[in-house]
């Protein structure tokens, strides 16, 4: 076969070792191999000690109720196991070690009974907020009213003089004008200055009109500017006025 020769030549170039190998069917089986195969397998398995299913294994039956109690037994064994505290845990994670038996997922007493009420309470607080909003509306309303009042009153004051007079009358009723006037005389000097502004006639008229003391009355009615003592005389002697009063 030309074909096979060409392949052989190519194979020689690639791998001389393979090309020199004889063409033999490597998958050949001894004659009668498959006829005795099942027998041979059975013999081999029976004679193999580890894999043999001897009567011993059959005899070693599972105890009665073994599987029913298995889960319980396992749990019991786990519980019985003395869990020795690993030194590593104590040394390296003291906090975790102290927490190891604590239930950190506890909830305050009656927490879940109270929960609905608390939630409702929180909702009510939300309502209070809405009241606050209305309050701010109130502020605007009050501000608007005050502005309006100021505007109206200013109009009234400027437009109608009768209202103005009425206001003055009210002020007179609360504090008499002469008392308000008295506030400007803060000390004795101010009072003296105020008296200096008065005319002599006015003073004499006042003294006469209000003379309620016999001494003063005699003096006020009898006073004449020229008849009064000299100022120097008055300064020399404080009793000058008294002597003058007595003389009259």
């Amino acid at each position: 076969m030309d074909h096979s020769i060409e392949i052989l030549l190519e194979l020689k170039q690639i791998s001389p070792f393979l090309s020199e190998m004889k063409k033999v069917n490597v998958f050949s089986v001894p004659p009668g191999y498959f006829t005795n195969l099942d027998q041979q397998i059975l013999e081999n398995t029976l004679t193999h000690s580890t894999l043999s299913l001897t009567s011993e294994t059959h005899n070693r039956d599972v105890p009665a109720g073994y599987f029913e109690n298995l889960a319980g037994n396992i749990l019991e064994k786990i519980k019985k196991l003395q869990v020795t505290e690993p030194d590593e845990l104590i040394e390296q994670y003291p906090l975790l070690y102290s927490l190891r038996k604590e239930n950190i997922f506890t909830v305050p007493e009656n927490y879940f009974e109270k929960l609905p009420e608390e939630v409702l309470g929180a909702l009510n607080q939300g309502k209070v907020r809405t009241i606050g909003k209305t309050r701010s509306l109130w502020n605007y309303a009050v501000a608007a009213t005050v502005t309006g009042l100021i505007a109206i009153s200013s109009l009234l004051v400027t437009n109608t003089s009768s209202d103005n007079a009425a206001q003055n009358g009210m002020a007179k009723n609360t504090v008499p004008e002469y008392i308000q006037d008295s506030y400007q005389y803060k000390n004795e000097e101010a009072i003296n200055e105020g008296i200096k502004e008065l005319s002599s006639d006015d003073i004499i008229k006042y003294l006469e009109a209000t003379a309620n003391d016999t001494d003063n009355e005699a003096f006020a009615s009898g006073v004449t500017e020229k008849g009064l003592p000299d100022q120097e005389e008055y300064l020399k002697n404080e009793k000058t006025l008294d002597t003058y009063l007595n003389q009259n």
Partner: protein, 121 residues
């Protein structure tokens, strides 16, 4: 013009009244609280006094003196209630003092008027 003169007269009287109140307020050292209670009482007392002066013209001198005392007695409890006994005593002295101050001013003016005359001589 007559009405205006009257108004003028009232204004002057009011000014003297204001001076008197300032004077008494300072003499008695009234606080603003005390003043608020005191002046309405004093105002009533003054009205009674004015009435007494009007009636005085034809009255007996001793009777009118008695009337003055009676008015003061009438207002005594109220004055004591508002400003206390010691200051009530001071009150009537202050009234007199104020008249004295007015008189002193009159006197000074008379002196000032006289002096240039003396210098001319």
């Amino acid at each position: 013009m007559g009405a205006k003169a009257q108004e003028d007269e009232a204004r002057k009287a009011e000014k003297i009244q204001a001076l008197k109140i300032a004077f008494i307020t300072q003499k008695l050292e009234l606080t603003s609280d005390e003043a608020q209670k005191f002046w309405p009482v004093y105002s009533q007392y003054e009205n009674d006094m004015k009435q007494l002066l009007l009636d005085k013209k034809n009255a007996d001198v001793i009777d009118s003196d008695e009337g003055l005392l009676n008015i003061r007695k009438k207002y005594r409890p109220e004055f004591i209630k508002v400003i206390g006994q010691p200051r009530m005593n001071k009150l009537f002295n202050a009234e007199k003092e104020f008249r004295g101050v007015l008189l002193r001013h009159l006197q000074n003016r008379a002196d000032n008027q006289q002096r240039p005359m003396f210098r001319r001589k």
